[in-house]
């Protein structure tokens, strides 16, 4: 990286089905203000703003950035809007990182959000509008059949079953109880999870994320600024991002097939050669339970054939070897635009020692990942993946 960059502040706005007390500009103002307060800054201290907003139909406003730029603290400042679907927040963080690392700006605010509850249609209908309209949308495709078909591929490849998925789902739901911003706050058990109805076989109710409104913000600063602004900045020591194409015909690849090589790139940059020893907590973008199982292998914590065993051993639980999704993750709050940034913010909180009831002990390095796009249809559309490695010390 040309210059070292750290996260010096975060702000979140409660993830929930629908907010009635705030309009979109109200929400972005509030989350931006919280983030500035957290970093001890004012809007005047911000050099540039990156605004992450996912697909337009989700909010029901074309060009929401135009309505809300000033609310996001961008009045008379450079503003860039980012949209990579579910990866939007991760890609926005990456754009903010580029702004600072390049030397163009010293202090950059990244704000991302989505008003999923404004569409009064079924959320899967609005999501279905993202598919290839010429050869794929005709098949009534939405996230449910995509994830279900992908889960079946992963089950064959990684040799796990519904029990393992339920273990992950319950773990993340219980983690969410420690995160006041999490949307779903469900105290549940593996037995209950396995009794829940199928929404699309093999996925049951608790395996799937909700549709949430909310917002997240972070402030990125150059090394000299970061050392002045934060007692314990979260240094971004590694990152990697790719636009991939995922089609199960191509060798039976599943939605997680690219995560290992993309993550290796971020690890190399951050000096991580033994992730199981060097990474203490992971906050990947896991909107559906099963994806966390291949992730154990993709992030280098085990061989692919060992992933199901790690689930049985509670590897990713809060008292396990490497806690996964301490915030409850995307499984418990999914705001599309903000979800990727919330993963980065959670990793930063863990590194900064601000994880409160969900703080993992002795965190030196944390992994965050954002993912979004479409996989597995006959139409070829991109799936975006952003990986970050954050550390207590700059590498």
């Amino acid at each position: 990286m040309a210059r070292r960059v750290a996260i010096v502040g975060t702000g979140q706005f409660k993830y929930k089905t629908k907010h009635l007390t705030v309009s979109s500009p109200d929400m972005y103002f509030e989350v931006t203000r919280r983030c500035l307060d957290d970093a001890g800054l004012t809007a005047k201290d911000i050099d540039a703003v990156v605004f992450g907003i996912g697909p337009e139909a989700l909010d029901g406003v074309v060009g929401l950035d135009k309505w809300c730029a000033d609310a996001a603290g961008a009045l008379n400042k450079p503003l860039m809007r980012i949209n990579t679907g579910g990866a939007t927040g991760g890609s926005a963080a990456l754009a903010g990182l580029d702004h600072v690392a390049s030397g163009m700006f010293d202090v950059v605010l990244v704000v991302a959000g989505q008003r999923m509850g404004q569409a009064t249609a079924h959320s899967q209908y609005t999501l279905s509008l993202g598919f290839d309209p010429i050869v794929a949308k005709q098949f009534s495709i939405n996230s449910l059949p995509l994830f279900a078909g992908d889960a079946l591929l992963c089950m064959q490849k990684y040799k796990f079953d519904e029990y393992h998925m339920a273990r992950i789902a319950v773990k993340n739901h219980l983690n969410a109880l420690n995160n006041p911003y999490a949307h779903l706050q469900i105290k549940t058990t593996v037995e209950e999870a396995l009794k829940a109805k199928y929404l699309a076989y093999p996925l049951r109710l608790l395996d799937l994320c909700p549709s949430s409104e909310g917002a997240c913000a972070i402030i990125l600063a150059s090394e000299d600024k970061a050392r002045k602004l934060a007692k314990r900045p979260a240094w971004i020591n590694g990152f990697n991002a790719r636009a991939t194409i995922i089609n199960p015909g191509l060798g039976g690849i599943d939605s997680t097939y690219s995560w290992d090589w993309i993550t290796r790139g971020a690890y190399k940059m951050a000096g991580i050669d033994n992730p199981r020893r060097q990474i203490q907590v992971a906050e990947p973008y896991i909107p559906v339970s099963y994806q966390e199982i291949p992730a154990y292998a993709a992030f280098g914590f085990c061989k692919p054939e060992e992933a199901a065993k790690l689930v049985e051993q509670g590897f990713g639980e809060m008292d396990g070897e490497v806690p996964f999704c301490p915030s409850g993750g995307t499984l418990c709050s999914n705001t599309i635009g903000a979800s990727g940034l919330a993963r980065v913010a959670e990793a930063a909180l863990q590194v900064m020692g601000k994880g409160e009831a969900r703080q993992v002990s002795n965190v030196k390095n944390a992994l965050a990942m954002a993912g979004g796009g479409i996989f597995g249809t006959g139409g070829m559309t991109a799936f975006f993946v952003d990986v970050f490695v954050l550390g207590t010390e700059p590498y």
Partner: protein
């Protein structure tokens, strides 16, 4: 000033009604016309990596070369790669549940295309879930000529028993 609790919170209703007509382009248009007129399934094949793309595309993203006029005709039989039995009712999507979306390769295509898998008794979706398996052979079944419209819906797939 009224406190927050006393404020009546308003939501403003609205609706998008925007008709669209998407350009399929020369390559996919030929694919759709062949489905309609001749009940034939055409794909494009990359001369460099030999991947067969179904539905056809006008370029190979891997080799980044044009696939214009690189046509191959596919046998209308293939394999179920993965699938989903959809039981959720999502108003606005074309099909009412239950239905099965299959991701299939046809005629040795390298990529899958989405298709409806028909001809199954879906009165017990859980039973169908247990019975369907990746790798099962499928065949393309075309609508009668008079019903074909130059659409991917001009055929569906069924299991080969």
């Amino acid at each position: 000033m009224a406190s927050e609790k006393q404020i009546e919170l308003i939501t403003v209703p609205d609706k998008w009604e925007i008709p669209y007509a998407y350009s399929a382009g020369e390559t996919v248009s030929r694919f759709l016309v062949e489905l309609r007129d001749n009940a034939r399934i055409l794909a494009t094949k990359c001369p460099q990596c030999h991947q067969v793309l179904l539905p056809p595309r006008s370029f190979c993203a891997t080799c980044f070369v044009s696939l214009k006029d690189q046509w191959v005709e596919l046998e209308p039989v293939g394999e179920l790669v993965t699938y989903s039995i959809c039981t959720a009712d999502i108003p606005g999507v074309p099909k009412k549940p239950p239905y099965v979306v299959a991701f299939v390769t046809l005629g040795g295509s390298s990529t899958t295309m989405a298709q409806y898998l028909e001809g199954l008794d879906l009165s017990d979706p859980d039973k169908v879930s247990r019975e369907l398996k990746a790798g099962m052979p499928v065949k393309a079944v075309f609508k009668d000529k008079s019903e074909r419209k130059g659409s991917v819906l001009d055929f569906h797939v069924e299991l080969i028993k």
